[in-house]
């Protein structure tokens, strides 16, 4: 039951490596927040500074409004679930789960009740007398969660808790973690490098890169309005297609992007925002799912693509194709499972340019435009 505030938090290591750089973030009470980024981006380091397991070089960390820079981990009343689970190998499941409240001096009866609650919540009955070594990966994961829950902490910090599970179990646990959060209502920080976890689990994503917080926001908002090309590529699979081109005036105040021997008309709704960049080089970003096999809407713009490969995933087909003749670039288009084409043939695809973005060539930052309306999924 606590907010977490980070003010200009930096963490430099003795060898000069920067762990975290000037991070400002306020995590609301009860929020489920995701730290997303490639390995080495500082997301786990940031989590550990919140837990107090690593000191910070500068800045302030507040939990529930209280400055905790110099507060020991045990006095922060937060629980951490580690990627390795970090179960105590010499203790039984029961002892693992009871360790935390025992350390806090709880009475035997209270310990029994709390552990029992967590055991039932997580379906661990029957495993209580086993040592961690005798558990499967999924069971260990649950015990680690249980150990955190029993303590009834102010906040849960989860450090890539799903990365050691196989794909199917990972999908199940993803859902269960979300349900658990909904039930317990505790502030939760979840660190991951998995884009699917980031999109589906949290209230907000914080995307990190090289120790910096690049963008924070609701998953669909970040997805629809990436701050730069890094976010645009990282938060999707296949990544957003980024096409270097030029913004040109097309008469009558209309704008077009000239790229790869194609002219992409800029939708009128974005005209005002982009007007200042007319005549300049830009990076044109369009997501793979904004390509269609048929002109379902009148504003879709036809482009010709030479088929390089078709990845038939079952429910859908990903087309990898070359756009342009003189200096062709490779693009990915997400099409329906009914799409068929011969490798090497040319096909016409239809681009919905409304969700497009333009990025500055030098800074790689997005050129601001009014966001398209995003409906938030209730509740």
């Amino acid at each position: 039951m606590a907010s977490i505030e980070l003010s200009r938090v930096s963490k430099l290591y003795a060898n000069g490596i920067v762990g975290v750089r000037d991070v400002d973030l306020r995590i609301e009470d009860g929020e489920f927040i995701i730290f997303l980024g490639p390995s080495g981006c500082g997301k786990s380091t940031l989590l550990r500074t919140i837990a107090g397991l690593e000191g910070i070089s500068s800045g302030e960390v507040r939990i529930a409004g209280q400055l905790v820079n110099n507060v020991a981990p045990r006095d922060r009343n937060i629980a951490v679930v580690f990627q390795s689970y970090a179960l105590y190998p010499h203790m039984t499941v029961w002892q693992n789960m009871a360790f935390g409240i025992k350390m806090r001096g709880a009475a035997a009866a209270e310990i029994e009740t709390k552990v029992q609650e967590a055991v039932e919540l997580l379906g661990l009955t029957g495993l209580l007398d086993r040592k961690p070594g005798a558990l499967s990966g999924g069971q260990r994961q649950r015990v680690a969660l249980g150990r955190a829950i029993v303590r009834d902490p102010q906040a849960f910090l989860l450090d890539e808790p799903l990365s050691n599970l196989d794909a199917q179990l990972r999908a199940e646990m993803r859902l269960e973690l979300v349900k658990l959060h909904r039930r317990l209502g505790r502030t939760t920080v979840h660190v991951t490098h998995d884009q699917v976890e980031a999109m589906t689990m949290g209230d907000r994503i914080c995307i990190m890169r090289e120790g910096r917080l690049i963008q924070a926001g609701a998953p669909l908002e970040v997805y629809a309005n990436p701050a730069d090309t890094f976010v645009a590529k990282f938060l999707a699979s296949p990544p957003m297609n980024l096409i270097a081109g030029e913004l040109v005036e097309a008469g009558g105040g209309a704008l077009s992007v000239k790229a790869c021997d194609e002219i992409f008309p800029v939708p009128d709704m974005h005209r005002a925002a982009y007007a200042g960049y007319a005549g300049k080089p830009v990076i044109f970003g369009v997501r793979s799912e904004d390509f269609y096999e048929s002109p379902q809407e009148p504003h879709y713009h036809p482009v010709t693509v030479k088929v390089v490969a078709i990845e038939a995933l079952g429910p859908e087909n990903i087309l990898i194709g070359q756009l342009g003749q003189t200096r062709p670039i490779e693009i990915a288009a997400r099409l329906t499972r009914h799409f068929r084409a011969a490798i090497g043939s040319s096909v016409t695809l239809y681009v919905d340019a409304r969700p497009m973005h333009l990025f500055d060539v030098e800074t790689t930052k997005v050129i601001a435009r009014p966001p398209l309306p995003v409906t938030r999924i209730a509740p």
Partner: protein, 265 residues
């Protein structure tokens, strides 16, 4: 044919390895006068053993060896554990300190024995078991620290972090989590220290007196006093090896696991 040759070779190898200790055992159970007989077992006696205890004070020496070996391990292990842990987890002393620890192990014992004698004489601990215990602790400390460092390195730091968020201090995490998890390593290190102390000869020879000798010194005395009494010497050797054999049967598994140096799964 080739297989037969292989098996024959293996049997030969086993014989070469096992025959000497078995022959020592045999000689220890045969009267002195028949020791050099080529018969397998010309007569049976436990007289050599009885003599050792009755005439050569082997009971005392045995007890001395146990006190010195166990005492030095118990004294050194806590220091070794904390040093090893500091080396494994923190920057303490840097690479140079780690090297120093190894370096002390490189000094020739012969060069150390005289200073040790001088120091012990200064505090009046020559000819005493206490003195030997202290010296052996000092001799074992670097080696034990090094082994335990390897062990502690093998324990994921996550475990300590988990304990610290669960409500322990850093010291509590060491005490409640790291130490129990490294019991096999501590046991292996302890046994190694015991064996090194049990077998040590040079320091025991110089630092102990007639009543505070340990088994190796007593064995050497048997071999040099008035000619070699081969029956008694054999019995002494068997007695010297006995605790090692007994101990190792129990902890064989432990040692092998412990001495894979730091691979706690």
């Amino acid at each position: 044919m080739r297989k037969f040759g292989l098996h024959f070779g293996l049997l030969l190898a086993v014989a070469v390895i096992l025959l000497p200790p078995l022959w020592v055992l045999r000689t220890s159970l045969v009267p002195e006068s028949l020791s050099y007989s080529t018969d397998l077992m010309p007569a049976f006696t436990t007289g050599n053993y009885a003599d050792l205890f009755a005439k050569n004070h082997f009971g005392t020496f045995y007890l001395n060896s146990i006190i010195v070996s166990v005492g030095s391990v118990l004294l050194a292990l806590p220091f070794a554990a904390t040093t090893g842990y500091a080396f494994a987890r923190f920057q303490t002393g840097g690479r140079f300190a780690r090297f120093l620890v190894l370096a002390t192990q490189m000094l020739p014992p012969v060069a150390l024995v005289l200073p040790a004698f001088a120091i012990l004489r200064g505090v009046g601990l020559t000819n005493s078991l206490t003195g030997l215990v202290i010296v052996y602790s000092a001799l074992n400390l670097p080696f034990l620290s090094w082994i335990l460092m390897g062990f502690f390195k093998g324990i994921p730091v996550d475990l300590e972090w988990a304990a610290m968020t669960d409500g322990t201090t850093a010291w509590g995490a060491f005490w409640r989590i790291v130490l129990p998890v490294s019991l096999p390593g501590l046991a292996a290190a302890g046994v190694l220290g015991f064996i090194l102390s049990w077998n040590e000869f040079l320091f025991a020879l110089v630092l102990s007196g007639p009543r505070t000798s340990t088994i190796p010194v007593a064995l050497a005395a048997l071999q040099t006093s008035n000619g070699v009494q081969i029956g008694k010497v054999s019995a002494g050797v068997v007695l010297a090896i006995l605790p090692l054999v007994i101990a190792s049967r129990f902890i064989q598994r432990f040692i092998i696991q412990g001495l894979t140096f730091g691979s706690v799964k």
